[in-house]
């Protein structure tokens, strides 16, 4: 089993602040994905990273894949209430998900 540990588990910050969440594993992944899930819905893909060291930007969200392809981070700049949700990383073809980070942005 390829365990994906996410941290922090919960994060509550004020609107306008920056934040980073992490996804770590002892295993090497050929790719990692980040999903966001809103209450009552299934997860929706945000981004896929496939190359060690890769950085991808999606508006105020910046995703990085570690050089060794064992970890990834998601940085949000100037968080907004619409960013509230459960953020999940996932790896490999069997699509194993991480433990999740529940993010709350306070207006």
């Amino acid at each position: 089993t390829q365990l994906l540990e996410q941290s922090p588990q919960f994060l509550s910050i004020q609107e306008g602040e920056n934040l980073t969440v992490y996804c770590n594993s002892s295993s090497v992944f050929s790719s990692l994905q980040w999903y966001r899930q809103e209450p009552g819905e299934g997860p929706v893909l945000l981004v896929t990273v496939v190359t060690g060291g890769e950085v991808k930007k999606l508006k105020r969200l910046t995703f990085q894949f570690g050089d060794a392809r064992k970890d990834s981070s998601l940085h949000i700049t100037a968080a907004q209430p619409g960013d509230t949700g459960l953020y999940l990383c996932a790896g490999e073809v069997k699509l194993t998900f991480g433990t999740g980070t529940r993010l709350t942005i306070i207006p």
Partner: protein, 115 residues
Amino acid sequence: NAGVTQTPKFRILKIGQSMTLQCTQDMNHNYMYWYRQDPGMGLKLIYYSVGAGITDKGEVPNGYNVSRSTTEDFPLRLELAAPSQTSVYFCASSFPDAGPGTEAFFGQGTRLTVV
């Protein structure tokens, strides 16, 4: 496109009862997955399938069974419901042959309560 469709959306079962959660996709995806999500937690893989006639266990398969007789359908069977199976169940599908990390599409979920 309907995408991934799960039925029912909600169900209450008594301990020991059986039921089948239905999942169908119309995207011709070869991979399909079943997950459970407990309150405030991430998704745990129950079973997955890489194509019709092929299924394999995930992290938490005990108490569940699956079959994949067609590309479109991937039902999940609970034989003897237990309170520990109270959860939200998600079905997903993907087409990994399209390249590394291809997107998985999820259904709306089935909220199951066992009493």
